[in-house]
């Protein structure tokens, strides 16, 4: 894989107890590329995503994001907490269940990273946070607590919170799976906008039509291995592997994105 790859994963292995979740995974994401990870539950796609920002520390293999490289297993010393924290600050992650901080207002949620991690002055962080909130269409919700927001709004705040760290890559872990169907569109729109701005992204999703639309590459995983990989449209429209075909048969693969209900 060439040096233009923003993310490079080599021979990645991870077990939880006796359960081998990732078996020798290789993955590359080009700078500005969007990769969609799909697969049935328990296929290891979320674990793989969490290995990219080392929220899950792999047992073996290597992870490189930008210029930062980590090797695991076989005598490699696991990175210490400071190194891990510094590395994670350069990657943004969005979770299925939003994980907003309920004791902080929307604005404070978005300011938290810049203030606590980047040691930014409060005034600068607030300006940055307001910009990010405006970007996801929630400028006027700045002073509300997360409990008062809809699921779609919460997820957009979570995206703004991750973006406020000005990350090199964004990781989405089933960002729309916990949303009511009518709220999916507003979140997908924000992700699509990020893609068009050239953000490098890895997206774990069940929205096959969305993956076809936004991702340039698609990876289908099952039982901890990559079964099929290729250009998103090609894999979705003409899957080579029987397992991929069987999985995709459960979805509507094409068609318009869910309508963006601007409920903000």
């Amino acid at each position: 894989m060439s040096e233009t790859q923003k993310i490079e994963i080599r021979s990645l292995r991870k077990s939880f107890g006796s359960n081998e979740v990732l078996k020798n995974i290789n993955l590359g994401v080009a700078k500005g590329g969007v990769v969609a990870l799909i697969g049935p539950s328990g296929s290891g796609k979320s674990t793989l995503l969490r290995c990219i920002n080392l929220l899950v520390v792999p047992d073996g293999g290597s992870v490189r994001v930008g210029d930062t490289h980590f090797a695991f297993g076989d005598g490699a010393k696991p990175p210490d907490v400071k190194t891990l924290a510094k590395f994670r600050a350069t990657t943004g992650m969005v979770f299925q269940h939003f994980n907003l901080f309920p004791h902080m207002t929307t604005l404070e949620n978005v300011m938290e990273g810049p203030v606590t991690v980047r040691r930014m002055a409060k005034a600068d962080a607030e300006k940055l946070a307001r910009t990010q909130l405006a970007k996801v269409g929630l400028a006027e919700k700045a002073d509300q607590y997360p409990a008062t927001l809809s699921g779609g709004q919460k997820q957009r705040v979570a995206i703004a919170r991750a973006l406020a760290m000005e990350p090199d890559v964004m990781l989405f872990d089933e960002a729309t799976s916990a949303l009511d169907p009518e709220l999916v569109g507003e979140v997908l729109n924000v992700i699509q906008q990020l893609a068009s701005e050239g953000m490098t992204m890895v997206i774990v999703t069940h929205e096959i039509a969305f993956a076809r639309e936004v991702a340039d590459r698609l990876i289908f995983m099952r039982d901890g291995v990559v079964v099929e990989e290729g250009p998103a449209r090609q894999v979705i429209d003409n899957p080579r592997e029987a397992a991929t075909r069987a999985f995709l048969s459960h979805f509507h693969r094409t068609g318009a994105l869910p309508p963006a209900t601007t409920a903000s």
């Binding site: 929220l55 891990l84 994980n99 938290e112 990273g113 979570a158 760290m165």
Partner: protein, 220 residues
């Protein structure tokens, strides 16, 4: 029919006030020290280091599973013999009550911390926070809210437990009222007054804390 005569207590007012002062002062000390022991116990049991976990667990169970009255007597009478540590009754009872309270505070604090969804610390970590920053900025502010009712409950028990120090002749409210009761031959009036005094301090406190809880719950 018993003839109540509370008027007689008036002549012992300084004795009672003195005792009340000792009781309140004692409570402040054992709540503060107890919370410190509680923090040690909670973070010890949650530690990555096995030795620390074991130490914290031993402390918690040793003090949680033995009667406080036995601990008080043990600290005052047994420690000097076994370890050559001489303590005044006040030091011995402050230490025993702090450790006893601390063992319960430990479990309250630990329970509060682990009740916060794992996703919260994951979100902190994903932003690039260190575990200590995540604990301080994300987990503890939420956990403390949940701990308050239980911490208050335990502190009320601690306040009342100070009455046991009278067995080591620490001149608290109960000890002084024993003196007054023996002197006046009016134990009924004396102990009724003591019970009212405890309640008169605690009830306003509980109301204050309930108000505080409501104020804290505003973001939920």
């Amino acid at each position: 029919m018993y003839q109540w005569d509370f008027g007689i207590l008036w002549s012992y007012r300084w004795l009672f006030l003195n005792g009340l002062g000792v009781t309140v002062g004692f409570t402040v000390v054992i709540v503060v020290c107890g919370l410190l022991f509680g923090l040690f116990g909670a973070f010890g049991t949650l530690s990555r280091f096995k030795a620390l976990r074991l130490l914290a667990l031993t402390f918690i169970e040793a003090f949680r599973c033995t009667p406080i009255l036995v601990q008080l007597i043990w600290f005052y009478y047994a420690l000097p013999i076994l370890a050559g540590v001489e303590m005044t009754p006040i030091t011995a009872s402050a230490l025993a009550l702090s450790l006893y309270g601390g063992s319960f505070y430990s479990e309250i604090i630990r329970g509060g911390i682990i009740s916060i969804d794992r996703g919260q610390s994951e979100a902190g970590a994903a932003l690039g926070m260190t575990p200590i920053q995540t604990m301080r900025r994300i987990v503890l502010p939420q956990a403390i809210k949940r701990m308050i009712p239980a911490l208050m409950n335990q502190s009320i028990i601690q306040f009342k437990n100070t009455s046991l120090v009278s067995v080591l002749a620490v001149p608290d409210l109960v000890y002084q009222s024993q003196v007054a009761a023996h002197d006046s031959y009016r134990p009924l009036e004396t102990y009724t007054a003591v019970a009212v005094a405890y309640a008169a301090i605690l009830i306003p406190l509980t109301i204050l804390v309930r108000r505080g809880e409501k104020r804290l719950a505003v973001s939920e």
